[in-house]
Amino acid sequence: MTVLEQPGTTGHTPPPAWQPRTDPAPLLPDAEPFRLLGTPDSDGLDAGLLRTLYRHLVRGRRYNRQATALTKQGRLAVYPSSTGQEACEVAAALALEERDWLFPSYRDTLAVVARGVDPVEALTLLRGDWHTGYDPVEHRVAPLSTPLATQLPHAVGLAHAARLRGDDVVALAMVGDGGTSEGDFHEALNFAAVWQAPVVFLVQNNGFAISVPLDKQTAAPSLAHKAVGYGMPGRLVDGNDAAAVHSVLSDAVSRARSGGGPTLVEAVTYRIDAHTNADDATRYRTDEQVEQWLRHDPVALVERELRGRGLLDDDAAKAVADDAEAMAADLRERMNADPVLDPMDLFAHVYAEPTPQLREQAEQLRAELDAEAETDGEHGREAGAR
């Protein structure tokens, strides 16, 4: 390549014409979060959809309550409740077709259950049982991701692979406001936009990352504004309005499915419970703030819409509540049974075939378990390593 010898002799013309690679205007989010419930636009909402949302919301709320109770009974190691965020959880699951994939974050058990995973299997991880309880391939639900934002590039890769194979599959990936600060968030959104992968990113901005409030997390006008930096549209939605979240996500899913590329959706919501049962939220936020959000409750919003349009009476509401109660009772009961784990499974899935080293170690454990069993037999005491 030429090294310029005589700069003075080079002509002086403007640079090769510069132009933005996409028009930024349509990528920018609206000035206000999109809302449907309680607005004139809610009239157009499908009654069946509203009823379905309502049923899932009530079940979801009940599920959160039951799971939290199970932590107190020592039946769950830990539970990050999504109470207050049920609209996002439910809408995320319902916006997808069966062939689509869901990539949940650790708080998104409700979305996993709403997608059809058995409520007990969805808790396997949090119970201390095997890491992932459900079959991700059967349900097209990735494992609940504990390392924040790391699941986002997975969603992009899967969506990209599906597109390469000619399948019209969409991936929807969930992340929290805190998770948007991670490098993985950035890299995933960038890959998605460059590859025009059929992915929808749903950020649940619930105001906190454990104790850290949003204004220590970002200085952006909104998290949805991050989209423009990747060249994808950013959408802002009221995360407590299940109809609005469902609508925005459904639009983004269709757009992705028809080759329009990825979308970033920020759902503005609030975490009503503490971070997990182990957290003490009074250390970092006021009750007033919580009260304020309780008045904008996602379950109540849909219920009021249904009742206002005469689509729900007390009997129907009771039926929905009973259904949720039954689910909770079943969950409680099944979670009371101790899961039976085989310690030898520790070696079963590290590789397709255990290495010689793992075979040796498995033999060691087998011998220990046999010895334990023998001692137990002899002395009748509890099996257990000291």
């Binding site: 890491h131 850290v212 997390q217 590290v350």
Partner: protein, 348 residues
Amino acid sequence: MSTTSTERTSTGAAGAGTPARKPATMAQALNTALRDALREDPAVHVLGEDVGTLGGVFRITDGLAAEFGDARCTDTPLAEAGILGTAVGMAMYGLRPVVEMQFDAFAYPAFEQLVSHVAKMRNRTRGRLPMPITVRVPYGGGIGGVEHHSDSSEAYYLHTPGLHVVTPATVADAYGLLRASIASDDPVIFLEPKRLYWSKADWSPDAPERVDALGRAAVRRSGTSATLITYGPSVPVCLEAAEAATAEGWDLEVVDLRSLVPFDDETVCASVRRTGRAVVVHESSGFGGAGAEIAARVTERCFHHLEAPVLRVAGFDIPYPPPMLERHHLPGVDRILDAVARLQWEDD
């Protein structure tokens, strides 16, 4: 498995007189160490996720933001590479950052900053940009944590030249080693055994024992039959095993390394030369773990004193198990005694 430890040996010089000692947890000792460091040196800054208002998910930084302000104890955005990367810049300007990684596995996003900059900066600038950074990492299992919350990552760090790797096993050391780490002009990976956070010992917060220099092991129990070489969360387990071993007629010595880098060859080899037998015990996976290095170097140095090969009792070579199975993974008393029994006590 015991989750509390009673300290057998106190190290470092105690203050003159007899300061009031009362039961304290390792968590309290760590908290006191941070507070004292912040008080004594305005260059010390604590940063990490939830370390401010909340006081950390393990409460190790409790009360620091209130006492020293947000600028000295800072809640950062949720991005570990960013936390460590900005700490590098702060150190370049003469500050002495103490970084908290919330859990072992969540330190991995910062791996590049750690290996390519924190560990190398002094060397690549011929000493002009030292990195007096302490990276606190709660590590290890035994607390029933879900996946990604129980990793033992010390082998990654100890193989990275330029880092010091330190881990306390007692309440007194938690204070003494953390102060020494913060005072060090080099980066220290300070590994805090999660399951010892609530272990207790009598300790004096007003005149806590100091540790003069990193890199000294401590003999926690003297013995003559064989040496258990260990560190961090496995120290109490080894002490328990040593007690149990007396029933079999074995008098085991227990060496708490306290620091993996620098490594105290002197203390370790003196012990092994005396006993002629050794078992290394740690939680992390055995293959390529710290125990490999320890066994190899002890053998190189003490070959003709060894009656048996140095054996290792470590976690299996598997991803950390779910809580309900972790007891099968963690080195327990029985497994340690089994290893001791394999030290070729009869002639063969």
